[in-house]
């Protein structure tokens, strides 16, 4: 079970290391405004938020599973 959490977190790291850097940032790297906010800023902000949310989910699940095991 410990292995699963490590693997999930590892995948998160790799995925977001890609999402938050070039070349995946490139399509958003323009002066265009989306909902009044520069597209690049929005991309980074939402990616960041999503990362935090997913970490919280993975850890909550780990917590739940270790509770169940007890």
């Amino acid at each position: 079970m410990k292995g699963l959490t490590t693997q999930r977190l590892g995948v998160l790291f790799i995925a977001f290391a890609l999402i938050l850097q070039y070349p995946l940032l490139r399509p958003s790297d323009s002066t265009e405004l989306v909902a009044g906010v520069p597209r690049l800023y929005l991309h980074v902000l939402l990616g960041w938020l999503l990362l935090i949310g997913l970490i919280a989910l993975v850890m909550a699940d780990k917590h739940r599973r270790s509770k169940e095991q007890e």
Partner: protein, 910 residues
């Protein structure tokens, strides 16, 4: 704003910090610790956000857009890896009582005082400018808010507020940071104060952000919309500044390393960590904090560019915007937020550096003095405390002097990044050390020296050239006139910006030196031990304490004396006794157990650092070289012992399980024995009743020959009836016994159930007519036959019908019999309109003698109480089921099913 007010607020705030720290320490002694929760832990990690974040980010964002955020994306991105990396660092540090990053490096590479000293010196060189920019930020913001332009830096020492602030911080740090000698002990008060500071700076920054975005503009849309109208601002929407995407990635990488390797981060994340589990929650709380504190950086930066005079320093926008709009209260809050960001960093960084300075540089130096080395004098704890306090003062003085003299015009972020690049040089030694067993001292030294040389040459030298301290010839012609050795273009132009260029070359050469060194040279035995224990920390964590990874001779009294120098004698004695008891060591013998030696060294490490502890212990013991094979044998031995223990525990659990099983079986046996007794008792009782009456009647007849004929006939009839009852009972008991023991074989043949049912009804026909009971028979004619014993099934039918007759009311009795085929089985119902069967006893009535046991409740006592038990046995033997349903007073319905033959089993019957 009134200068006195601002000074009052600053020192009032500092006093508040003292109060909080003091309160937390008091509370920690009596109640549940304030520090022991993931929120405080996450907030203390936020010491990562300094004045650089608070003022500098906006300054940076105003010229290069979102690039500043990379510094916060890095640690956020790293958060998922805390689960492996940070946890490992924490585990190692707790096990080895490591107190700083220098101590970690020194301990890993065989308690090398060389390496510890090197890391300490590099840390101090790298971090002092970083501390000084915090002082600068406080000074600048103070000037700005009191509108005393350029007054501060020219002011003489005694009228400089920053000077008093530095003094106040020194007092705070000495008071709460050097409470105990043990550097690995937690500083509760201090950590609580830092967490509080993190809240203050976040609240203050969010307030300014909201004020600017919604007070000065109509939200984000309005603000960015207006920025779009200015091309030089619109340019900031993209990553196309100097360096662009490459710099963005370099900053992310750099900040990831800095987050773990900065001395102050190591202090709060590893040394002050109370519980590994706190990292689990902090793993998302901390990135969320980073996101929130950066949310308004861009809006404030654009607002500054849009609204303020171009001459205003962008690093001060956070404060200038409220001031320019007359929001003085808000400005004061903002100032205090920046103040808290700066002081938090100064406090933790100073503690971390002073621990390093005393334990990894000054103490080892002191111990190598002839007085200590040759004459056997041992330094005392008081000396260590004095050294550490002097270290704190020294660091703060250096930072202050740097601020007053050099205090470069360089923006906050640039100075901070140079520090980041400096600590990033520890990465190969640290991460290589905890993941690669071959990594050794030589590689680490080579890597570190190379890395720092390149760092200094590419990042520090250009600054010195700019300030005129070094001739610009170096920049144009290169070192020694070699084109390839230009500070900003080392080995030719790779198209990097200066920072990326420096990080790339320094880390590349550092890592190369580290790896080549590790592959070329061999490890010492102590290093091998440590390599094994560091890399496999999760495997050895428990085996470690009881493992002897040391060989030689030592005297217990010497070890005692050594410890007593730094810990009160009573406490030292207690610690030794506890350890001895845990590991079964005899303290009375004067030749010390090798485990005791390692233990003492580890305790000392926590106090004076790994390298100093090594020196001190080796002074009092006679050591022998221990071979690698021996180390492995010992560690493996402990491992095996643990595995054996585990196996033993498993076996004992199994035994427990079996015992329980046995107990259960025994209980069953006892119950069936009881049942047998009960059965015997009931049978004898049932037999005695008719016997008694027969005997009584026959005695009357015998003793009274003149009894009249009518009476005699009546007595004889009763006797015959009772005898019949007796023999029926005996028959039934035998029958039941045969059925239950499985001795009774069914005389199987194909049986056509409808016919059998009708025959059974016919056989009780007379009885029905006598009692005036009406019967209705409803059978399905053409159904499949069953395989069974016809006589036995008829016995069941007759028994059920007999029961129905027995329970029918005296008048208007009615019985229904139905028989039909459904789903592969034949179902038979016998329904009466008697009193019904209560739900509680619906299952029990099929038990032996159930009726007998219920006699006192039943009006009808005829029958043995074995009939239904026999029925159940017969039906079950045929593979069917029997049960009763009853709807209150509406009578009872007894049903049984028998499996029908499938068509292919009975072709000739069809």
């Amino acid at each position: 704003m009134n200068t006195a007010l601002v000074i009052g607020a600053s020192f009032g705030y500092l006093a508040l910090l003292f109060g909080i720290a003091w309160w937390a320490e008091q509370r920690g002694r009596t109640k549940r610790s304030l520090v022991s929760n993931p929120w405080t832990y996450a907030l203390s990690l936020a010491v990562y956000c300094t004045a650089w974040t608070y003022y500098g980010s906006v300054g940076r964002a105003s010229v290069s857009g979102i690039e500043f955020a990379a510094i916060y994306i890095g640690p956020s991105l790293l958060a998922p890896l805390w689960y492996t990396v940070l946890r490992k660092l924490i585990r190692i540090s707790k096990m080895q009582r490591i107190s700083s990053i220098a101590d970690l490096v020194s301990a890993r590479y065989g308690s090398s005082s060389w390496l510890g000293g090197l890391v300490t010196v590099f840390s101090i060189i790298g971090i002092i400018p970083y501390i000084s920019i915090q002082l600068k930020a406080v000074g600048t913001s103070f000037d700005l808010i009191t509108t005393a332009p350029e007054l501060l830096r020219a002011a003489p020492l005694l009228t400089d507020t920053t000077f008093y602030l530095t003094l106040g911080l020194a007092a705070f740090i000495i008071l709460f940071g050097t409470r105990t000698l043990d550097a690995t002990e937690r500083h509760e008060g201090l950590v609580t104060a830092i967490a509080f500071e993190s809240v203050v700076k976040l609240v203050a920054f969010l307030t300014v952000g909201l004020f600017v975005t919604y007070g000065l503009f109509n939200g984000f849309g309005d603000l960015f919309g207006r920025a779009t109208e200015r091309p030089e601002l619109q340019r900031l929407f993209t990553l196309s500044g100097d360096g662009g995407p490459v710099r963005w990635s370099a900053l992310i990488l750099l900040s990831m390393m800095a987050f773990l390797l900065l001395p102050r981060q190591f202090q709060v994340a590893v040394v002050e960590n109370l519980n590994e589990r706190h990292t689990h929650k902090a793993m998302w709380i901390f990135p969320l904090y980073l996101l929130l504190i950066n949310l308004f950086v861009l809006p404030i930066a654009f607002a500054g560019r849009l609204l303020l005079d171009p001459g205003v320093d962008a690093d001060t926008y956070v404060l200038s915007l409220p001031l320019a709009n007359g929001a003085n209260g808000l400005a004061l809050l903002t100032y205090l937020g920046g103040f808290s960001a700066a002081t938090g960093m100064i406090i933790v960084a100073t503690i971390a550096l002073s621990t390093m300075l005393s334990n990894n540089l000054l103490m080892p130096l002191l111990l190598s003095l002839p007085a200590y080395r040759e004459r056997g004098v041992q330094p005392k704890g008081a000396l260590l405390l004095a050294v550490r306090r002097a270290g704190i003062v020294l660091i703060l003085v250096l930072a202050y002097v740097y601020f007053r003299t050099v205090s470069s015009a360089a923006p906050l972020v640039s100075v901070g990044l140079v520090s980041f690049a400096a600590v990033a040089q520890f990465a190969p030694a640290v991460f290589g050390g905890i993941y690669w067993k071959r990594a050794n001292r030589h590689g680490a030294v080579i890597g570190l020296v190379l890395g720092f040389a390149v760092w200094a040459f590419t990042l520090v030298v250009p600054g010195l050239i700019r300030s005129g301290l070094i001739s610009p010839d170096l920049a144009t012609h290169g070192l020694f006139g070699l084109e390839a050795l230009k500070p900003h273009l080392l080995f030719g132009d790779l198209g990097f910006d200066p920072l990326t260029h420096a990080v790339f070359w320094s880390l590349l050469l550092n890592t190369a030196g580290f790896v080549l060194g590790a592959l070329t040279f061999t490890q010492s035995s102590k290093e091998r031990n440590q390599a094994e224990v560091f890399v496999d920390v999760f495997k050895y964590a428990r085996a470690y304490e009881s493992s002897i990874v040391w060989k030689g001779t030592a005297q217990t009294s010497e070890l005692r004396r050594l410890l007593a120098n730094f810990i009160e004698t009573a406490r030292a004695e207690r610690a030794l006794e506890q350890f001895a008891r845990r590991n079964g060591i005899d303290l009375a013998s004067d030749s010390a157990d090798p485990r005791l030696v390692t233990y003492v060294e580890r305790v000392l490490s926590g106090i004076i650092g790994a390298a100093s502890a090594r020196i001190m212990v080796s002074n009092v013991v006679k050591e022998e070289e221990i071979r690698l094979e021996e180390v492995f044998d010992i560690l493996r031995g402990s491992q095996q012992l643990m595995a054996l223990n585990k196996e033993l525990r498993r076996k004992s659990e199994e035994l427990d399980h079996l015992t329980q099983e046995l107990r259960r079986v025994n209980e069953d046996l006892r119950r069936s024995d009881e049942l047998k007794d009960e059965f015997l008792y009931t049978v004898t009782h049932e037999l005695r009743t008719p016997l008694t009456s027969i005997r009584a009647l026959s005695e009357i007849l015998h003793d009274n020959p003149d009894i009249d004929e009518e009476q005699r006939q009546q007595f004889l009839a009763t006797m015959v009836r009772e005898t019949e009852r007796l023999s029926r009972l005996i028959e039934q008991v035998l029958d039941l016994e045969k059925l239950e023991s499985g001795k009774q074989k069914l005389n199987e043949g194909t049986v056509h159930l409808p016919t059998l049912v009708e025959e059974a009804v016919d056989s009780v026909g007379q009885l029905l007519r006598d009692k005036g009971i009406s019967i209705q028979v409803d059978v399905q004619r053409n159904m499949r036959p069953i395989l069974g014993d016809g006589d036995r099934i008829e016995q069941v039918m007759i028994n059920l019908l007999g029961n129905a007759v027995k329970f029918c009311p005296e008048q208007g009795g009615r019985i229904t019999v139905s028989c039909y085929y459904v789903d592969g089985e034949v179902k038979v119902h016998v329904t009466d309109n008697g009193p019904g069967v209560e739900p509680a006893i619906r299952k029990l009535i099929f038990d032996k003698f159930f009726q007998a046991r219920q006699q006192h409740q039943r009006r009808n006592t005829s029958g043995s109480g074995l009939g239904l038990a026999i029925c159940r046995n017969i039906v079950v033997l045929h593979g069917g089921r029997i049960w009763v349903e009853s709807n209150g007073e509406q009578g009872a319905r007894f049903s049984f099913t028998l499996p029908a033959l499938s068509p292919k089993d009975q072709p000739e019957q069809a």
